[in-house]
Amino acid sequence: MRTFGMSLAAALLLAGPLSPPAAAQSTDGESSRAAIVERSQADKSTKLRPYVPSGFEMAVTRVEKTMLNGTMKWHPFLEGAYTGAGFSPGVGYMTHVSPYSTLDVRGNVSIRNYKVAEAEFISPRLFHRRAELSVVGGWREATQVGFYGIGPNSTTANRADFAFEQPYAGARFKVKPTRRLWVLGGGADVARWSFNDPTGIAPSVDSVYTPATLPGLGITTTFVHSQATVGFDWRPAQAYARRGGFYSITAHDYTDNDSRFGFRRVDYRVTQHFPILRESWVLSLNGQASATFNKDGQQVPFYMLPYLGGGSTLRGYSSHRFRDRDSVLIQGEWRIMVNRFMDTAVFYDAGKVASQHSEMDFHGMRTDYGFGARFHTPFATALRIDVARSTEGTRLVFATSSAF
């Protein structure tokens, strides 16, 4: 930008006053200031050129136009195939199929060789901007999902792994009847779980458990999953907020193709952000609970049990570290606004899994603590880096979303 200062040519044009030209003499013999200025302007008029932006300006402007004009088709896709995938570089290609509706085809492969390829259609402005429809279909593979046993007292020494691949398809419908605050959602999807040999260093679950001791082990199962949500959301944005809250209840029904592993689950979530000193600090609290309910004569398969552990639950523990029929999680973050683009935070997580609803209390919770940095826009978290410490060690979390 600074390069469009006066050129040498223009500078030379202004040399007039150093030796006042005859043309600049007024009738009383003195030079005229206006005449000198006019002569310089006349000289510049012979050397006019259009403004030429620098290479940097052109590049940034091109990026901006691409974003604003809906022509940015290719985009990074970093969301892993499944929790615990690790860093998952990938790309997506999104195109508008109507002024607002998009079709996004994307995929990635993680450092643990988890893979996902999927296509998603989103129509965000149905019913006069009150509803959003999302239809997604794809395939994913997870190669080394940890399983440490069922219950709150499992140990890391008992880790076993399983691997699965899964084609899936589904549709979700989200309605905001008043366009704000109230959120109603519903959807259905179908997914087939089929299991492979895990590739990690931990033994395979097949070698540790049997189908009798671990429901669902080794059995390819297709689930039809339906869900309904009612929520109250007064955060400024879902993906980054320093005030407001989100309260929701979601009911799920899972029905398998041979009626062996059907169950119901209810998820409860309460998130509240308390701004302090004009949002320069934010005390953010999150509580989540999940409870499963057997269908008659059926069991919850081990891989669909509620779990804790990983980058957005108990951050100081491995992904899926604790599994059982129910889970409860409470999290607190003290977020510090460093500037408009960066927050730091100290956090504390506590949670437990339980085999019965009556055990969903605050006794015997697993805890961790840590600190982190978040880089964000006003509405979304671009990168979250957390360092979390628990009794099982220190873990580093990289994520492209807020913890809650």
């Binding site: 600074r2 390069t3 469009f4 200062g5 006066m6 050129s7 223009a10 500078a11 202004l14 007039g16 006053p17 150093l18 030796s19 007024s26 009383d28 003195e30 030079s31 005229s32 200031r33 206006a34 000198i36 200025v37 006019e38 310089s40 302007q41 006349a42 510049k44 008029s45 006019l48 050129r49 259009p50 403004y51 030429v52 940097f56 300006e57 940034v60 402007t61 990026v63 901006e64 136009k65 809906g70 508008h96 002024p99 607002y100 006069h128 901007r129 400024p236 320093r242 005030r243 701004p275 000193l277 004009r278 949002e279 320069s280 510090i336 460093v338 500037n339 408009r340 960066m342 730091t344």
Partner: protein
């Protein structure tokens, strides 16, 4: 990045405008000094529309601009008496002639207000922080309409209207702006009206598009909407001007914009009115025909980010910090936020129509727009002094007259705003008027030099014990000074030495300083030059802060 070529060019520009030259044989003062109007002598019809992207300007101003080292150079578009001549950028108003309340209320408006009995929408609004449309009124005239957000009812529309009058009075080219009404029942859509969609294509503007905007703005109980309407500017739109460099396609644009005093002075005017969104996209260049010649005219087209109205309801740090500041970032990072910033605790008047605007904790020296421009960084104490004199020209009645145009429903808003403006005005005057030698308006009568002290007159400084003067005969060709004598006075009237020349065309130079004052800067003399003419002595030159006072410049930053 600045080259020596540019430095040389600046020296030559300076020579053109205020007569500082390196030659010992050229005339210091020319026949038409001081220049009262910057000529636009050339046909600028070759000027082409160009744009600057929001993202580029933001990135540049946030991360490149902080590295910029101000040149310390005196403004380059000032004339020989340290004033800004009228130009396609600026017209001296508030200090040039007494402005009545009626003048101020009228401001830039010369035409009739819009007829809101019908609005025909034909395009969305593409700039500014608050929602709006481009529409034609019942008379078919094109207007840019802007609404109040629901959390600032009346505030945003009033801010734009009032600021347009303040900035017009300062001297800037301003859009004609009116408060009016939009009744959705009387809105139509031009058959060719389009709106840009997220897929980048323009499709027909629909009632739902109107509804979507109206859902996000403040609605009156009767179902109508208060809007502020800006009249379409005449001429061909050439895009935004930049706060540095010159337009290479405009032959009349000789002075790099960062060295235009009126653009530097936006740091002071911006602080007073809280114009936090100082960016190119809030400016406009148009090609207009003046005196039969196409010339480029430069506008501050959107001054609505004023009076606390640029902030979202929860943007507390605006006007206290740039969008990004390395020093505060480091402090908060290192202290986990325990290093407090003023914006965290400052008290605001809790009125939606006022927003985050106050005068008690306000400090003009630490006020910050969203991002700094090059012109902002180049401001020197003499530029700030020049701006502060214009701020000083606004008395309570003038401020009240403008604030009254905001038409606030809540009767307590107007006096509250007036009081805030007065508090901020006084702080600006205290900060900037005494910071340089404040001697202004020197007049040389037959045997008496009379002048004013801008800081004392504004009641922000005590008069010095003594004014001193050193008198010289000045040779306009050789610049030689021949001492004539010295004199002093406890008042702003000093007797001339007996040896004053009296032949027509002769010059005298007078160094005027103060003694017995708290301000060191007052002991540095202002030099005034007078030329003997048939009607008497005429002021032709005034040097307040020559180039080289780097220490003083640093004190402003």
């Amino acid at each position: 990045m600045r080259s020596t070529r540019l430095t040389a060019s600046l020296a030559m520009v300076a020579a053109v405008f205020f007569g500082v030259t390196a030659s010992t044989t050229s005339l210091r003062f020319l026949g038409d000094d001081p220049l009262v109007k910057e000529p636009d002598s050339q046909d600028a019809s070759q000027a082409q529309a160009s744009e600057i992207g929001d993202l580029y300007e933001m990135v540049y101003n946030l991360f490149e601009q902080p590295k910029y080292k101000p040149s310390g150079l005196r403004a380059q578009n000032i004339n020989t008496v340290d004033e800004v001549p009228d130009s396609s950028w600026f017209t001296n108003r508030v200090t040039a002639q007494p402005l009545s309340a009626a003048d101020l209320v009228r401001g830039p408006n010369v035409g009739a207000p819009p007829d809101p009995s019908k609005w025909v929408i034909f395009r969305e609004k593409t700039s500014g922080v608050h929602p709006g449309f481009t529409a034609r009124d019942a008379k078919g005239e094109t207007w840019f309409l802007e609404f109040d957000p629901p959390y600032y009812p009346e505030g945003a529309t009033a801010a734009l209207l009032m600021a347009s009058k303040f900035y017009w009075a300062f001297g800037y080219n301003q859009v004609e702006t009116f408060l009016t009404t939009l009744d959705p029942r009387h809105v139509e859509f031009d058959p060719k009206a389009t709106i840009k969609r997220p897929n980048g294509k323009r499709t027909r503007f629909t009632r739902d598009d109107l509804d979507e905007v109206l859902e996000r703005v403040a609605r009156r109980p009767d179902g109508t909407y208060r809007v502020v309407a800006g009249r379409l500017l005449p001429g061909k739109v050439l895009g935004y001007f930049r706060y540095e460099g010159t337009r290479p396609d405009d032959p009349n644009d000789l002075v790099p914009h960062e060295h235009r005093r009126e653009l530097r002075a936006l740091r002071v005017f911006g602080a007073w009115t809280n114009l936090t969104d100082l960016k190119s996209k809030n400016t406009l260049d148009t090609l207009v025909v003046e005196n039969g010649r196409p010339v480029v005219k430069h506008w501050l087209q959107d001054v609505g980010s004023t009076f606390g109205m640029n902030n979202d309801l929860h943007e507390w740090d605006l006007s206290w910090e740039h969008f990004y500041q390395g020093d505060t970032t480091l402090k908060r990072l290192a202290s986990f936020g325990f290093t407090r910033s003023p914006w965290q605790t400052v008290d605001y008047v809790e009125k939606p129509a006022i927003g985050k605007f106050e005068g008690t904790r306000f400090d003009p020296m630490t006020w910050r727009p969203q991002t700094a421009t090059t012109a902002y960084m180049e401001m020197r104490p003499d530029d700030a002094f020049w701006a502060a004199r214009r701020v000083a020209a606004f008395n309570r009645e003038m401020i009240t007259a403008i604030i009254h145009t905001g038409q606030f429903t809540d009767p307590s808003v107007e006096p509250a705003l007036v009081n805030i403006m007065l508090k901020r005005r006084d702080k600006i005057l205290r900060a900037y008027l005494p910071a340089v030698n404040p001697v202004v308006a020197p007049r040389l009568r037959e045997r008496e030099l009379v002048f004013d002290n801008a800081a004392v007159n504004a009641d922000v400084a005590r008069a010095p014990r003594l004014y001193t003067s050193a008198w010289f005969e000045f040779d306009n060709a050789t610049r030689a000074l021949r001492p004539l004598g010295e004199s002093s006075s406890p008042t702003t009237s000093i007797e001339a030495p007996a040896a004053l020349p009296n032949q027509m065309g002769s010059f005298v130079a007078i160094d005027i300083a103060a003694d017995g004052t708290d301000y060191a800067s007052w002991r540095r003399p202002v030099r005034a030059y007078f030329r003997r003419q048939p009607e008497g002595w005429t002021l032709v030159g005034l040097d307040r802060e020559p180039d080289g006072n780097a220490g003083q410049v640093a004190s402003l930053r």
